[in-house]
């Protein structure tokens, strides 16, 4: 039970895009994790970060964008690097009772979507998936998702370099129009989450959206990741429509390391992921 970091060695890495890499390692505690759950990943001497599981099983994986101190250390060393992991934390996506789903992934948010797609397909859920990125080069898991989903994969890029030009929300709107799903699952930048939420509300479709806040403990005690009266690390990171409907902070404000509330733009700039 104690949540001490367990040191694991990165067994292999997979370059996904010019900016993203996947790191595989064994971590028994996470072998039955739910898609959407995350680990706290400690690089000794550097930092510790919450990172979604991008693959679940005997071997698990995380997929990280190289962009800052911590992730560049990870990129830089890669295979053989020893990191301390604790978790899995958070609630994860719930597929209970779902027969028909649309999954929408944006940027880094595609990481937790990978095992979710896997799960939906295994459970025989009718699954359509939208994956978006700014440009083709940084589209995650394209080949793998194409193989698995065929016609059920819809790609969007901001610049039209792959799939349809435009936002994931445009694609989602069309798909809902064609055939209403039981639920929309999504992970991506919070502005995108907000747009998806608004769309789902309008279309009267339930959604489960994965959000991000700065975290410290990861297990619901320090209060750092608070959104309204919810702890994103423990009550989330996946929230359902009802929770989001009642939220005053979703899509609007978030807290910096100091706990100071700032509007989402400022938070996103600081976060810049």
């Amino acid at each position: 039970m104690p949540e001490l970091p367990q040191i694991v060695e990165i067994r292999r890495t997979q370059k996904e895009t010019g900016q993203h890499q996947t790191y595989y390692f064994e971590f028994d505690k996470a072998k039955d994790a739910k898609p959407g759950q995350f680990l706290m990943v400690w690089i000794p001497g550097v930092d510790e970060k919450p990172i979604s599981l991008s693959s679940i099983g005997k071997e698990v994986a995380i997929t990280v964008q190289c962009k800052g101190l911590w992730s560049e250390k990870l990129c830089g060393i890669g295979k053989g690097l020893k990191v301390g992991v604790r978790g899995p934390y958070g609630n994860g996506f719930s597929t209970e009772g779902v027969k028909k789903a649309i999954i929408v992934a944006g940027g880094c948010g595609t990481a937790p979507i990978r095992p979710l797609v896997e799960k939906c397909l295994t459970e025989g859920i009718d699954t359509r998936v939208v994956v978006g990125a700014q440009t083709a080069e940084i589209l995650l898991f394209r080949k793998e998702l194409e193989d698995k989903l065929g016609d059920n994969l819809y790609i969007t890029t901001d610049d039209g370099s792959a799939g349809k030009k435009g936002f994931t929300t445009d694609a989602l709107k069309e798909l809902i129009g064609e055939d209403k799903p039981d639920v929309v699952f999504s992970c991506g930048p919070e502005v995108m989450m907000k747009a998806i939420f608004d769309l789902c509300e309008k279309e009267k479709v339930e959604c489960q959206l994965s959000l991000e806040r700065y975290m410290r403990c990861g297990f619901g005690i320090c209060g750092q990741c608070v959104m309204d009266d919810l702890m994103v690390c423990k009550d989330g990171p996946v929230f359902n429509s009802e929770q989001l409907r009642n939220s005053k902070e979703f899509g609007k404000v978030a807290r910096l390391k100091s706990g100071r509330e700032v509007d989402l733009k400022e938070f996103a700039n600081w976060r810049q992921c």
Partner: protein, 302 residues
């Protein structure tokens, strides 16, 4: 049966959320009240915006938690909205403050007093920061300086210094605080600091290396501190450190606490810890035919 009084405030039960646990915003504090807390303490507020320490900052080990969150705070300048939202809270709000000098304590106290919290807790006991905290709780003289300065700025709002179990003679510190005008004592903050080393990484786990120890491991130390303080002062004590069950709470009250702080237990037992612990206290009182929690306070003293 569980209703009690602390420092002139009515509490529906003696459980109080400890500072730095979940207390980052008004909404979550109110949720803790809904979950059964008799009162709630806000995360300690400092003299300016402060980021706290880098991660890892909070780690669970076998016998408790160790943390070096490092007193992150939006600063007293940025908390008006939280206080505004807390106005209609059904339980008393304790505001916790810290500083790195007597002047800083004064400044924060004066600003926070404007928001009329039920009590102002003075955190002179944080073991994981260099300049703030613990140092002021280690000698009666420094504690006196801080407490008198704060008391002079807070008007009628009761003032409650929070002490460190690391103090060489904690009862002397408590006496000094009482003389300086404190209306209650909060005991104790986290123990230590302590350190965990990951032997695979060959490094201390906390980025700050040193962190305060809380939870079950520290209960005997906390109980001793409260017992000693109870014999030395006549102001009420908010006892905390390792309380994880109703029985632990009863033990702490018997040592001399008028109310009990709950921190780490919210990890072990969930946010519902307050209701669970309050129910367990009630159950124990029924089985032992104790009519009021007040009858438990100090019961272990001859």
């Amino acid at each position: 049966m569980l209703e009690t009084e602390f420092c002139g405030l009515k509490l529906k039960n003696p459980t109080v959320l400890a500072s730095g646990i979940l207390g980052t915003n008004a909404a979550l504090l109110k949720r803790v009240v809904r979950e059964g807390a008799g009162a709630v303490t806000m995360k300690s507020i400092g003299p300016r915006e402060k980021l706290g320490h880098p991660n890892p900052t909070v780690i669970e080990w076998e016998h408790g938690l160790i943390n070096a969150v490092g007193l992150p705070s939006p600063g007293y300048q940025n908390i008006e909205s939280e206080f505004a939202e807390l106005k209609n809270c059904s339980a008393p709000i304790i505001a916790s403050i810290y500083g790195a000098s007597v002047e800083e304590f004064e400044t924060v106290a004066e600003a926070v007093a404007e928001y009329k919290p039920a009590i102002i807790e003075i955190n002179i006991s944080c073991p994981n920061t260099k300049k703030e905290g613990q140092i002021f709780g280690m000698s009666p003289e420094m504690a006196t300086d801080v407490v008198s300065a704060v008391v002079a700025k807070t008007g009628k709002i009761p003032v409650m210094p929070k002490l460190t179990p690391q103090a060489p003679k904690i009862a002397d510190i408590a006496v000094a605080c009482e003389k300086a005008g404190a209306n209650a004592i909060c005991a104790v903050n986290t123990l230590g600091p302590g350190m965990l080393i990951d032997i695979e990484a060959r490094k201390p786990i906390l980025a700050n290396k040193f962190g305060g120890v809380s939870g079950p491991a520290i209960k005997p130390i906390a109980v001793r501190c409260v017992y000693q303080i109870y014999r030395a002062v006549s102001i009420p004590i908010l006892g905390m450190g390792g309380i994880n069950s109703g029985k632990d709470a009863v033990e702490m009250m018997m040592a001399g606490a008028s109310a009990v702080g709950i921190g780490t237990a919210t990890h072990y037992r969930g946010i519902e810890a307050f209701k669970l612990i309050a129910d367990e206290i009630k159950q124990w009182m029924k089985e032992h035919e104790v009519k009021s929690v007040k009858d438990l306070v100090g019961a272990a003293h001859d």
